[in-house]
Amino acid sequence: MLALSYALPSIIVFVASAALILTGAVGVITLKNPVHAALSLIMTLFGVAVAFIAQQADFLAAVQIIVYAGAIVVLFLFVIMFLGVDRREGVEVQPLVGQKTLALFGVVVTISGVVFMMARSHWVTGIPSLSGSKLANGAHNVNQLGTSVFTTYLFAFEATAALLIIAVVGAVLLARRERSTGEAQ
């Protein structure tokens, strides 16, 4: 029995997070109204955060809530409202014949493949000792993560700065109202 092998709380947490995640995800892809979809997305994000906590990623869980649910989804909602598209998607027939069936087929095959391959490898084949220290809990997690980001991932961290700048510049350029060409000169 499951209960005998694993601690009950962890099972409950898993089931809860899985329920949140999957319900939210299915909501995103089925709900017609973009606002509802965005709210479903939040549900998934919460679920993921729960799963993070369950797996000793406390800091990431916090970031998940703050950044994702707090910023990204808000951005979505903002744009939805801004554009005024908070209605159902158009009800015209799908122009693409067989798209759903084929998509389902492709995705199911792919994901089955992914799962099968993972299972055949007993889910993980990396060697823990390769990368040093054990994973810490709680406050130490933040420390550890910080250390990692500023040592091993220093360059990547610096690069994110560039990424964000370019994204911001890009967004500004794209969303800017068209000016007359004379001004552009």
Partner: protein, 101 residues
Amino acid sequence: MNVPAAWYLVLAAVLFGIGAYGLLTRRSALIMFMCLELMLNAVNLTFVTFSRTLSDIGGQASVFFVMVVAAAEVTVGLGIVVAIFRRRSTTSVDELSEMKG
């Protein structure tokens, strides 16, 4: 004892699949973006799960970067949607099929 990593990995894979399926079937650009977020979240979950299994902080650090990327992508993506909406008053990608062949 915690539930095995496999559970979370499968969960992540399924989430990835749902995201991909949504991307393929939804017409609203905004919802497609959300589906992309679902997929990235699946990746994050995978990272965290492996991080736990390997007792390695690297996976969690990676999640950090993925989040940044997700944020950047959404910013630009929404910028594009706004730009298109100004011109065409739609967010349905199916109406953007002028170029083909």
